[in-house]
Structure formats: structure tokens, C-alpha cells
Amino acid sequence: MSDSAQFPAARQGPAGQVIAIEGLHKSFGPDEVLKGINLTVAAHEVICLIGASGSGKSTLLRCTNLLEPIDAGRISLFGQEITGGGIDQNVVRRHVGIVFQSFNLFPHMTVLRNVTLAPIKALGTPKAEAEAEARALLGRFGLAEKESDYPDRLSGGQQQRVAIVRALAMHPQIMLLDEVTSALDPELVAEVLEVISELARGGMTMLIATHEMGFARDIASRVCFLEDGILVEDAPPAELFSSPRDERTKRFLRRIIAAGRL
């Protein structure tokens, strides 16, 4: 079960599209949360999903990581459909990293073990190699001192940075970030956003659900506005924030500005 055999395009040039979502529908019981989403993410693109709580941003990310089964439509990774039958979900997930709002670190493991568990158990990386790499990653994000600590001894910002490192340790082709600063105290938001900016500078492909409008404007190649499960507008940030075309986008941005968040 070689990865390159399953996703041959993974090694192709940066021009290729990483994720393609077509006509995605998802319901929870009678609630239709996603009503036909179309979205493609090219390599090295950073796409920010904005929209009110409940607009479907998180569900879209969870579907892309296959944590939620979809009702209709298709999602492709490097041109190969991953939502059909005969796909090993675990192999897909190694390529698609996700970071959650509530960190979800493993509380019974040290920081180092949190980071190395999946490389060792899912990729079969030798322990020494996985640890060396984890230490390098932790060092890069200012967490070198914390490797032997348990998560409950870390600040929220540190925990979220560890969660990002944990996802990076799998060498994902794309990172999905699900409101990763929403659970943080205001003074801890900056350190996590800085990590994401660094990833963007390094060329990481990212799909980011966020309420940080200023951050989206600075970092995104495209911003997508979702409302009630519909992708209303998809435009470069300068365009979407300064001259939104759709009435619903305008209304949302007016509310955001009135709240002083842009």
C-alpha cells in the first residue's frame, strides 16, 4: 500500500490542484449543512473560509479529512476521488492534515510522543528518526523546551502549536485549520497566527476556517465566504473585503465592521 501508488500526482509539479470539491452536500439529520459546495485548492494556495458560526466551514473541513461521510458530490485529492469506494481513508488522511479548534492533544502522552505517535504507527518511521524530526519541528516553532511536558502543563497557544506540529509531522500535502485560534485567550492568538504565516511563507497549501478577518486579508490567496451551507463568494482578499459583489457578503462584512473586527 504505497502512497505514491495511490496518489501518483502527489509528486507532480506545484501547478497541480491539490483538493477539488464538487457539488458537496452534507446533512446532519434534517439539517442540510452543506448545499452543493464547489471549491478547488491549488498547490501553495492559502484559502480562508469566512462566515458566521454554523455556516458550514467546520463541516467542510471535516468532510475533506473524511471525518464526516458526505451525502452527495465528490472530493478529489490530486485528481483522484477520495469519497468513493475502495479508498483507504487512513492513507488519504496522511496527506491531509487537520488542526482543530480545541487542540485535541492526547493528554496521556508527552508533547514528543504526541508528535511522533502517528509517524511511528501509521507511516512506520523508525522511532529515533521520528523523534529527531519531531524535535526539529518543535524547535522550529519555539517548543523545544516542552518536549517532555504533558499537554495540560502548556498554555493554549503552546498546545495549539503542538497540535500544528503534530499534523506537520505526517508531511501532509495540505493543512486544514479549523478555527484554530477561536478557543485561545486573545493574548495567545498572535503566536499561533505567526506559526500559520510561517507555514504560508514556506509554501504550505492550506484551507483555513477563521474568524480573524485581518489575518485572512493578510495571508489568503483567496477568501471564500460561506452562508447557510452555500459558498457565496470566492475572490482574492483585496477584492472580497473592499468590493464584495454579493449582497450577502456585503451584509456579513458590514456586521463584522460594526463589531470592530475588521
Binding site: 479529512n65 488522511r93 492534515g97 485535541n104 505517535l117 501509521a122
Partner: protein, 324 residues
């Protein structure tokens, strides 16, 4: 009772002890600041009914001694005291029943307790495995496992509802009566272990289930999102957290199991209680039961202390990160 004087290091954690009678969140006597609601400094969870300090220790010591003296006086001054002491606490009889004497027709209680220990160890391992399987089946969500889920539920309901003694009778007398090869020709203790496993695995599976439920679904998401298989996520992420949460009730059930090995004696297996029974009916002296009781205490008390230490160690290990 309260051996933690203010400012004194906690003997278990080596950390400053809590200032007695003061509110957590205060600067404790040891100087380390603990956030409100943090019981970390005690290493054993919240301490209730604290207060007093040195004076309280003296009061509690004196009151304990007074109560013990009163109980001893009642026992010694009771009209039948001499008789009871002779029947239950005769040193000569206690020693005789402990070492046993085959020529006089009774077994050594001290030797018979080994059968309890062996039955306990065998049953414990089998219970841990069977109960985990039962819990996992009951927690599964796959439609394909629906029939198994129903069977597991019936099993648990049945064996939790039927008294252990009846299960021991049914297995111990029923299986041999079938006159099958192998199944009907086992030593009595084996039937005892089978009955204990049937009954206790039903209880313990419910403990496991509570433990599994105590691990948040987001932990499953986190593990699976990293590409870990269901089995890997279960073994490395879910179960370790679940088991950590249920160690005290689990060991509590095992303390109970240690004692219940005595029930297997009804089949005629020579375990400690049965050996004591034989001694009593041979010599008309019940001191052998006192010996059996002491031996059971020697078994169960270390397990209880071990449980405490395990919990304290887990806490301490998590605390280690704070001091680094």
C-alpha cells in the same frame, strides 16, 4: 488524621503540603502558588473535612484511642466473652488450622489460600480480556455487529442479575454432569474460575464501558485524522485514557473478586474458607475462620494500597511537567 502540617513537604509528592484549613488559591505555606480549585499539592485529590492542625491531630488520636478502648471493654466484659475468645481466637487452634494436620482429618488453611490466589490470578486475567471484548462489542456502532451487540447485552444483564453462588453451582455441578470429555473432567477449581469469570466479566465490562465513554469523541477524531487505523487509535489513544479513568473501580472489583474465590469452596475445592470449615467441623472450634479472614486481609490490603499508589503516581507524573 491530618498528618500534613502546614509548610511540611507532602511525603508522597515531595511538594509543599497544603496549608491546613486555608483556601486553595492562596499562597500556601510552602510558597508554591496553586490555582484555585487545584488539588495538585496534596497529590491525592481534594481533602475533605480539613482544619485544625496540630491540635486536631491530638484530638483525633485521643478520640480514636477512646473508641477503641470502649469497644475492647465491651468485648472483654461481655458475659460470653471468654467463650467467644476461646471459640474464635484460640491461639493454639489458630496455629493448628494454619499448618493443618492430615492425620487428624483437616487441611492447612495457610496452604489452601494458595488455591484462592491461583484462582484469583487466573480469573483476573480472563476477566480483563473477556470484559474488554464485551465492552468493545457493546460500544461498537457498526450495523454488522448488531446481533453481537444484542448478545453482549443479554450476557451482561443475565450474569449481573444472577447471584454468583448460583452460577458457581450451575457450572460446578452442571458441566461435570454432562459427562463430556475434557469439559466434564476438570478440577473443581477450574469450574470455580469459569463461574467467577462469567459473573465478574459482566460487571467489569460495564466499568470498561464507563471508561470508554469518559474519553471524548474529539480524541477519536484527532487520532483518526492523523491517519491512525481504528485499532491503533483504540490501543494507543482511547484505551490508555479509558483505563486510567477506571483504575480505582477496576481494582475495587478485583478486591471483591479475591474474597469471592472463597465461594468456590461450596463445590468442595479445598480453598482457605473450605479448609477452615473442615477444621471447624472436625474440632468444633471456629478459630480457623479467623485465620482465613486474616489471610484474606493480607491479600486484599496490599491491593488496596497499590491502587492508591497507582493513582498518586499518575498524578505525580503529570505534575512533573510543572516543575521543569
Amino acid at each position: 488524621m491530618d498528618d500534613n502540617q502546614p509548610g511540611q513537604a507532602d511525603p508522597v509528592t515531595g511538594l509543599p503540603g497544603p496549608g491546613s484549613g486555608r483556601i486553595a488559591g492562596d499562597r500556601t505555606a510552602g510558597g508554591a502558588w496553586m490555582p484555585p480549585g487545584s488539588f495538585a499539592s496534596s497529590g491525592r485529590g481534594p481533602k475533605l473535612f480539613t482544619g485544625g492542625g496540630r491540635r486536631a491531630t491530638a484530638v483525633s488520636t485521643i478520640s480514636t484511642l477512646l473508641v477503641l478502648a470502649a469497644l475492647a471493654a465491651i468485648f472483654l466484659l461481655a458475659p460470653g466473652s471468654k467463650q467467644v475468645r476461646h471459640t474464635f481466637f484460640d491461639p493454639q487452634d489458630m496455629w493448628q488450622s494454619f499448618i493443618g494436620n492430615p492425620r487428624k482429618g483437616y487441611y492447612s488453611v495457610g496452604a489452601a489460600i494458595w488455591l484462592n490466589i491461583r484462582m484469583f490470578l487466573a480469573a483476573e486475567i480472563l476477566i480483563l480480556i473477556l470484559a474488554l471484548l464485551l465492552a468493545l462489542v457493546r460500544q461498537s456502532a457498526s450495523p454488522a455487529l448488531f446481533p453481537l451487540r444484542v448478545l453482549a447485552m443479554i450476557y451482561v444483564d443475565f450474569f449481573r442479575g444472577v447471584p454468583l453462588l448460583l452460577v458457581i453451582y450451575a457450572v460446578g455441578f452442571g458441566l461435570p454432569a454432562l459427562r463430556l470429555t475434557f469439559v466434564s473432567t476438570q478440577p473443581l477449581a477450574v469450574y470455580g474460575v469459569v463461574a467467577l469469570v462469567l459473573s465478574y466479566s459482566a460487571y467489569v465490562s460495564e466499568v470498561y464501558r464507563a471508561g470508554l465513554n469518559s474519553v471524548h469523541q474529539s480524541q477519536v477524531s484527532a487520532a483518526r485524522s492523523l491517519g491512525l487505523s481504528q485499532l491503533t487509535a483504540l490501543c494507543y489513544v482511547i484505551l490508555p485514557q479509558a483505563v486510567r479513568n477506571i483504575v480505582p473501580p477496576l481494582l475495587n472489583d478485583f478486591i471483591s473478586l479475591q474474597k469471592d474465590t472463597a465461594l468456590v469452596g461450596v463445590l468442595g475445592a479445598i480453598e482457605a474458607n473450605q479448609a477452615a470449615q473442615i477444621y471447624a467441623s472436625t474440632t468444633f472450634n471456629y478459630s480457623s475462620f479467623t485465620v482465613a479472614a486474616i489471610l484474606f486481609l493480607i491479600l486484599t490490603i496490599p491491593l488496596a494500597r497499590f491502587t492508591d499508589r497507582l493513582i498518586a503516581r499518575d498524578r505525580r507524573r503529570r505534575l512533573a511537567g510543572a516543575t521543569r
